[in-house]
């Protein structure tokens, strides 16, 4: 199976953390301890909605001390193609899901002397795990957590209890914003910054870091893109000799899987590069949504990341 080792799990507990965020506690169906994971890791959750299979990556918040459960946090997104909506409306305690082994595309740099953790909204989930690990290691760190208002801060109480005054909150409704010009000056050499949150926030923080003269090697971000829907098109899998339709509410990868082809993937969020696929030809314009391929590669029209990118046009022929 192309996405790695999978673990069937049972939902032990669902917690409505805020109006739009639910936290799920998952235990292995086998009763075995779940694998240890490194902070910043995610799992891909497979959901089965009456035969329609959806897979979304969710960062791991924590693992129970005895290994019995993982927690993930899910934001209900308004333009969800189904994944977060399904998790919110249909998944209850006792239900079964399947998760992959943890994968870490957003690791703590262990050689760092100090770590600035910046989170916006649901982007707090990997940051939460990183802060816990840094605390365990008695490392030097700060948490900067931005949210709409106090009620939408899904993790404030837990974070405050664990991290005290290392936690700084920023509330949109109080006109408080994370500002790189405030947090970057006077940090020691060897400091690393990690940011996870909305697209605009990540871009602003990274740009601020670069403008302040920070090296790219010290600036880290993770953004999982929900694959955007779009217009339907046809995909021809040349080696398999299969033609399939990609519906408007479906990603290219999901359509390939629905056609019975075991295509490569890992993060399903445009970040890891595993699903890179060669384009044989296309009648239309490729819409690249990933953060993995370079601009030149996007422009070349020779490669596509099937998890988040698609075609605006009639037909796409892939080397699959």
């Amino acid at each position: 199976m192309s996405g790695g080792v999978e673990i069937p799990v049972r939902v032990v507990d669902v917690e409505q953390a805020t109006q739009t965020v639910k936290r799920f506690r998952l235990a292995a169906l086998s009763g075995e301890p779940l694998p240890s994971f490194s902070a910043g890791a995610h799992v891909v959750v497979t959901m089965d909605d009456n035969g329609r299979r959806m897979r979304n990556p969710y960062s791991l918040i924590d693992r129970a001390d005895d290994g019995s459960t993982y927690r993930i946090g899910v934001l209900r997104t308004p333009n969800s193609r189904g994944g977060s909506k399904f998790m919110h409306e249909r998944v209850n305690a006792g239900d079964q899901l399947v998760v992959t082994m943890p994968v870490n595309l957003f690791p703590i740099v262990r050689t760092g002397r100090k770590h600035l953790l910046v989170a916006g909204g649901i982007g707090i989930t990997p940051i939460y795990a990183m802060a816990n690990e840094l605390r365990r290691r008695s490392a030097s760190y700060e948490i900067h957590y931005a949210m709409r208002n106090e009620a939408s801060g899904a993790f404030i109480d837990e974070l405050r209890a664990a991290h005290g005054d290392r936690l700084k909150l920023y509330r949109d409704d109080m006109q408080e914003f994370v500002s790189v010009s405030q947090i970057l000056p006077n940090q020691p050499l060897g400091t690393h910054l990690y940011v996870c949150g909305p697209e605009g926030m990540i871009d602003a923080i990274l740009k601020g870091g670069r403008d302040a003269g920070w090296a790219d090697e010290n600036l880290h971000s993770e953004r999982f893109l929900a694959p955007a829907g779009g217009e339907p098109f046809s995909v021809v899998l040349q080696r398999a000799g299969i033609t399939a339709e990609v519906r408007s509410d479906q990603s290219l990868l999901e359509a390939i899987e629905e056609a019975g082809v075991d295509a490569p993937f890992l993060c399903r969020g445009g970040a890891c590069g595993q699903c890179e696929t060669a384009v044989v030809s296309c009648d239309g314009k490729l819409v690249h949504n990933d953060h993995f391929l370079t601009e030149e590669e996007h422009a070349s029209g020779k490669k596509i990341m099937t998890c988040v990118s698609r075609l605006k046009g009639r037909e796409l022929v892939l080397d699959l």
């Binding site: 080792v5 994971f37 490194s38 050689t111």
Partner: protein, 346 residues
């Protein structure tokens, strides 16, 4: 299955040899009659029963003697085992991986009992009985990587992953084919592979790095590499070149079958859970030419591989001085018959 551990040496009087069973399970690395570099990586899945691939960590008849040889190397040169401070979590990950695997697959020799963080490890062949607290270095006589790798065949490197590269930041290396941990420690993937000829030009390392950055937890991979060694010496390190380099001049047509060894490295890579580091294990297997030719397919095939090897590769592997003598010896065991595909004996 109880293994009969041999008493033998890998230095001085070189009493090492392989039993017929050990010859049969030798991980012969050539599936064709020719050799060139490739990204020959495959899933590290259980292989045939009794083969070197049956279990993730292979323990064989040489175990006890190899561990004695490792202790001698470390006594003379403590820098063969080094770990940068940020690798301590990876060290514990490695200890867990090795203890779990050895206890699960060789229960008659090793047992591990876990009760939360209180662990109890019993190593029968080496007479060790240790209770300790997982995660607390002060409860072991050595740091965790050194502790467990003094009890496990093969060299081990712990590779940190950061900034889209891999960094050799810890390891224990006492059975190496002429490379030095003390020299390579702290280097990244491209730096430590820089001396390898030809492979860079065909993009092998770019592809291998990209692949390894995505190595997944629970999905280890392996590859075989090979070279040749004069006398069954495990420690062919640059640090001790003055001791073994001269051995290459001692090969004669009379002793070639006994002195010249094919050295195969079973290299495996695992993603570690808590640290996100990668463990890179290099397990060396040695076989004399006169043992190798007892498997007719291997005698024929290795003759052809060695005869047709590109000169750059022969130079890099250090075979040049005794290659022809070895080819001449092997030619007596090659009747020109076709060989069957695959690695295993017919």
């Amino acid at each position: 299955m109880t293994i009969q551990f041999k008493t033998e040496t890998f230095r001085d009087d070189f009493t090492f040899s392989n039993s017929p069973e050990a010859i049969h399970r030798f991980p012969f690395p050539f599936d064709k009659d020719e050799y060139m570099y490739a990204v020959n990586i495959e899933q590290h899945m259980p292989g045939p029963v009794k083969s070197a691939f049956e279990f993730p960590i292979d323990i064989d008849e040489h175990y006890v003697s190899e561990m004695k040889d490792r202790a001698l190397v470390l006594k003379q040169d403590p820098l063969r085992c080094q770990s940068l401070p940020h690798m301590i979590t990876a060290e514990w990950d490695l200890l867990e991986l090795l203890m779990e695997s050895m206890a699960k697959n060789y229960p008659e020799h090793f047992t591990l009992t876990r009760d939360g963080d209180s662990w109890h490890w019993v190593n029968g062949p080496l007479g060790i009985d240790q209770k300790f607290t997982f995660g607390d270095t002060s409860t072991l006589p050595y740091p965790p990587m050194e502790y467990i790798t003094r009890q496990c065949q093969g060299d081990f490197n712990l590779i940190d992953q950061r900034n889209d590269n891999l960094w050799m930041d810890a390891g224990i290396v006492t059975t190496q084919a002429d490379w030095s941990l003390d020299f390579d420690i702290g280097m990244n993937f491209m730096e430590w592979h820089a001396p390898v000829p030809l492979a860079h030009d065909i993009g092998v390392f770019d592809r291998a790095l990209k692949f390894l950055l995505n190595l997944q937890q629970g999905r280890p991979v392996r590859r075989l590499n090979w070279t040749m060694t004069i006398n069954p010496r495990l420690d062919t390190s640059p640090e001790n070149y003055h001791k073994w380099g001269v051995d290459r001049t001692t090969v004669t047509p009379e002793n070639v079958g006994n002195k010249v060894h094919l050295r195969v490295e079973l290299q495996a890579l695992w993603r570690l859970p808590r640290s996100n580091a990668i463990v890179f294990s290099i397990r060396a297997y040695l076989i004399k030419m006169e043992e190798l030719v007892t498997i007719p397919k291997w005698g024929r095939r290795f003759h052809r591989v060695l005869r047709d090897l590109k000169p750059e590769l022969a130079d890099y592997k250090g075979l040049t001085r005794y290659r022809q003598m070895t080819v001449d010896y092997l030619s007596k065991f090659d009747d020109g018959a076709p060989t069957s595909p695959g690695f295993f004996p017919d």
